[in-house]
């Protein structure tokens, strides 16, 4: 039944499409299929590109090309003096999309906001389990259930969030895809019709593009939302042509079958830059790859030993071998595109002789250790095995024997958490919300020991700085605290920071107005195709 409905909608639009031959259609060769169209249910960037950044908006949005937030569906907001109450004033006159499958009768109001959040944390909400096995993974992953005490409707256009504790990154969380604002009116209608699951299949929001149809694993079609509060788009139609293989995406781009593609093979980038029909945008990604020593186990409990090993790693060689240059060596645990990145910090210079001497001075001889290498390619580390081999030969130069170990991915993530784990674990992180807390506290805070803190590193000085920054709502103060925390990190060296990979986006020459997001999103509002 549902499928038939989609097709009916598709058919109607097809007629429109064929009627307007001059319509501007932008084709994006996306890298995979969305898991669904309700951004709250999923954690994958592919899904967010298809659902969150096209169809939906959030109370706050990330300013294009930055990790800073700006007003979205909330026009303004106030934070109470104790930092526990956030009152959002909604933007008036925001229309939900009118589509073949639903015609809204009212504008955005507080009920929509409350519905969008409440379903994710209230087990009593009829939409909490509308898809069987729903776990609201991102909402939980960002600690929202423990943070939000209540959400209240002050009036039709005002919503108040009451928090259980002060937490400055909350505002960044509100701009994340899982916090997309849905239409309660649409949801109510689906519930009345007994078709709740449709919320995850035919999304309807306030965003720049309205959903038209999805042919599984093949094509997603959208059309520009004429009522968009940010103004109508320059393109008429947006199409995601799902193309999983990077080499094939490149061929499609070259043949003009799509306008823009994500995630090229790094070996193809040079040829893309040389192609007169294409242009390539590059930006440091919001990520870091690192090698985490277990700072609770000898001899890695000694700062001198960790420092010595860090000096022995030739990061430039890793960047060249693994990324063909599409990455930069990392000196800090947060990437340079993130606010509060401490530029003044000096990296440990690569110096095997000095490293060898430091080890000897620390009384460590005949050291054998394990280096863990991930079994999968991640954006921050395309080939962990290769990087581990390079580290192995680097360490051999200072007399340290390395055994490279690896496990199946889920197993790897699990075993590397163990507090008494041996050796050094290679891993990395891609930022969620552009807040430094999301790296520094999440990966290195004392609370994360035995979990995300793979170095098992609990340093009181560092932890105090990061905790203080988390509860302050003064950005200048937070910046200072995070900068200091990075100094402590560098001094104590719980990790060898390896690289920040570049995000490379090839596109046709005629594409205009695309802005790369440091968060790794692909959003097409504001995009145009030159005639």
């Amino acid at each position: 039944m549902l499928r038939k409905l989609t097709f009916a909608a598709a058919l109607a639009t097809a007629t429109v499409l064929s009627g307007a031959a001059s319509a501007k259609t932008f084709v994006y060769c996306s890298e995979g299929s969305p898991e669904g169209f309700d951004p709250g249910l999923y954690t994958a960037g592919t899904t967010f590109d298809a659902a969150a950044h096209t169809v939906y908006n959030r109370l706050l949005e990330f300013k294009k090309g930055t990790t800073e937030t700006e007003p979205g569906l909330a026009e303004s907001w106030e934070i109470s003096d104790d930092g526990l109450e956030y009152t959002f004033k909604l933007r008036p006159g925001v229309k939900f999309q009118t589509t073949e499958f639903f015609t809204p009768t009212r504008d955005l109001n507080a009920d929509d906001v409350i519905f969008s959040y409440e379903r994710q944390f209230s087990a009593d909400n009829p939409w909490n389990q509308y898809v069987p096995g729903t776990s609201w993974e991102y909402f939980a992953g960002m600690g929202m259930p423990d943070l939000i005490s209540s959400i209240e409707k002050v009036d039709d256009m005002t919503v108040k969030f009451v928090l259980k504790r002060k937490e400055a990154p909350f505002l960044a969380n509100v701009a994340m895809p899982f916090a997309s604002i849905m239409s309660k009116e649409y949801a109510d209608k689906l519930e009345a019709d007994g078709k709740k699951e449709q919320l995850n299949q035919m999304p309807l929001g306030t965003g720049p593009f309205a959903f038209v149809a999805y042919q599984q694993d093949a094509v997603i079609r959208y059309e520009a939302n004429p009522d968009y509060w940010g103004g109508k788009q320059k393109i008429d139609d947006l199409v995601f042509a799902i193309t999983t293989d990077a080499a094939v995406r490149y061929q499609k781009l070259k043949a003009g079958e799509c306008h823009l593609m994500p995630y090229p093979n790094s070996a193809d980038v040079e040829a893309m830059k040389a192609d007169p029909a294409l242009k390539v945008m590059e930006q440091e990604g919001l990520n870091v790859a690192y090698l985490a020593y277990n700072t609770t186990q000898a001899p890695f409990d000694k700062v001198e030993v960790r420092k010595a090993l860090n000096k022995a790693i030739n990061k430039e060689a890793i960047v060249d071998a693994v990324f063909q240059g599409a990455a930069t060596p990392a000196k800090n645990p947060i990437p340079p595109t993130m606010w509060s990145y401490n530029k003044a910090i000096e990296d440990d210079t690569y110096d095997p002789d000095a490293a060898k001497k430091m080890l000897e001075d620390a009384g460590v001889t005949d050291l054998s250790m394990k280096v863990w290498a991930m079994p999968v390619a991640r954006p921050y580390m395309l080939n962990a095995r290769r990087a581990a081999e390079l580290i192995q030969s680097d360490f051999a130069k200072i007399g340290v024997k390395v055994e490279i170990v690896s496990y199946e991915w889920a197993e790897y993530l699990d075993r590397s958490k163990a507090k008494d784990r041996d050796g050094a674990v290679m891993l990395g992180w891609t930022g969620d919300n552009g807040d430094p807390d999301n790296f520094l506290d999440t990966l290195l805070g004392c609370d994360a020991v035995g979990g995300n803190n793979r170095a098992q590193w609990c340093n009181q000085e560092f932890d105090d700085l990061v905790s203080k920054a988390k509860t302050s709502s003064d950005k200048a103060e937070r910046t200072k605290l995070y900068e200091e925390a990075q100094v402590v990190f560098k001094r104590e060296a719980p990790w060898a920071t390896l690289d920040h990979s570049l995000s490379v986006v090839p596109m046709r020459k005629e594409v205009e107005g695309f802005v790369q997001s440091p968060l790794g999103d692909f959003a097409f509002d504001g995009v145009d195709i030159a005639e």
């Binding site: 954690t43 776990s135 499609k252 993530l413």
Partner: protein, 334 residues
């Protein structure tokens, strides 16, 4: 005939149960925890892990899980994907026509080229042509599908621009699927040029997926033909003064076809396995690509459901092939 059919169908039941046990247990023998993979690098608390495992039923004994699963299968409920949360049977039925369409085209391509090539090689045994055909078949058989596909794309789509790179039809055409077969749907849509576009999108994947079956069929036809051509009745036919065409085309071919048909039947498994790579290269929205994605996501229900359905298809096709023998060779009519 009917008794034979009933007997064969009865054998299918235990086979099917065996497949379900294998599908169910093999996936669970793989390392990797599907619940942990839901959160990736973000660590899930042990309480949350336990809660989600409980909701998905993974904390129950394996035997209980298996019988629960089998019960579902008997009533046509294969469960839902733990990633997309969609019913597995719906997904399968949406995607299968794409795989079927591609497989049918590939096997037709393989038969149309493979059988004449095999016959020709057999007649010209030992000649330059025989060696060329058999050499090419050996290369085709050994060709890594992924590499072969990319090579064709780069040459025909990239350099010559004769064929589109990937997909099932140009994005310009947009109509609701009726049968799920793009060739038929494009005709039904009535849109000018749609059918041509669908055909042009099928060419390269058909060649890639059909290459191995083509090689196998050509080799099998040649050897079966050689065997038959040495038989007494062929010599008699020749001695009778029948034209070479009648001898080879009517008398010899019919008998030589029996092992060839078996081979063609066995290609179903090869096609479905080859579809996994072919679909991935050509962004072909079929079940092969769907299964690969699910393995990476440790989507247990999809993998076991998909395996079961694919195994079922192979079993049924093999049954049909066995029944077809009777039509060709009256001596093994049941």
């Amino acid at each position: 005939m009917l008794r034979y059919l009933v007997k064969r169908l009865a054998v299918l039941v235990p086979t099917f149960i065996g497949v379900s046990i294998i599908a169910f247990s093999f996936i669970r023998l793989l390392p990797g925890d599907p619940v942990a993979l839901l959160s990736g690098e973000r660590v899930m608390s042990p309480e949350r892990h336990a809660q989600i495992s409980h909701e998905l039923g993974y904390d129950r004994p394996l035997v209980v899980q298996y019988f629960d699963y089998l019960g579902g299968v008997m009533t046509g409920d294969l469960g839902n994907s733990i990633v997309t949360k969609q019913p597995i049977l719906d997904q399968f039925l949406t995607l299968f026509p794409a795989t079927l369409e591609l497989s049918i085209c590939a096997i037709i391509f393989a038969i149309i080229l493979g059988i004449p090539a095999g016959i020709f090689a057999a007649i010209k045994r030992g000649s330059f042509w025989d060696q060329t055909i058999m050499g090419t078949a050996l290369v085709g058989y050994s060709m890594p599908i992924f590499w072969w596909g990319l090579l064709l794309i780069i040459f025909f789509s990239g350099i010559l621009q004769w064929t589109p790179v990937s997909g099932r039809i140009s994005l310009f055409y947009f109509f609701p699927p009726v049968t799920g077969f793009m060739l038929i749907d494009s005709l039904l849509s009535g849109q000018a040029g749609a059918f041509k576009s669908a055909v042009s999108h099928l060419i390269l994947p058909t060649i890639v997926l059909g290459t191995i079956p083509l090689a196998v069929i050509a080799r099998q036809t040649r050897s079966a033909m050689l065997e038959v051509l040495g038989e007494d009745y062929v010599r008699t036919a020749r001695a009778k003064g029948l034209s070479p065409f009648r001898v080879v085309g009517i008398h010899a071919l019919r008998n030589a076809m029996i092992p060839v048909i078996t081979t063609i039947g066995l290609q179903v498994g090869v096609l479905l396995a080859g579809a996994i790579l072919t679909e991935t290269i050509f962004s072909w929205p079929g079940i092969g690509k769907w299964m690969v994605d699910s393995v990476f996501r440790r989507d247990y229900p999809v993998i076991q459901g998909g395996l079961l359905l694919i195994a079922g298809i192979i079993m049924i096709v093999n049954l049909i092939v066995d029944l077809l023998y009777g039509l060709i060779n009256p001596r093994i009519r049941h």
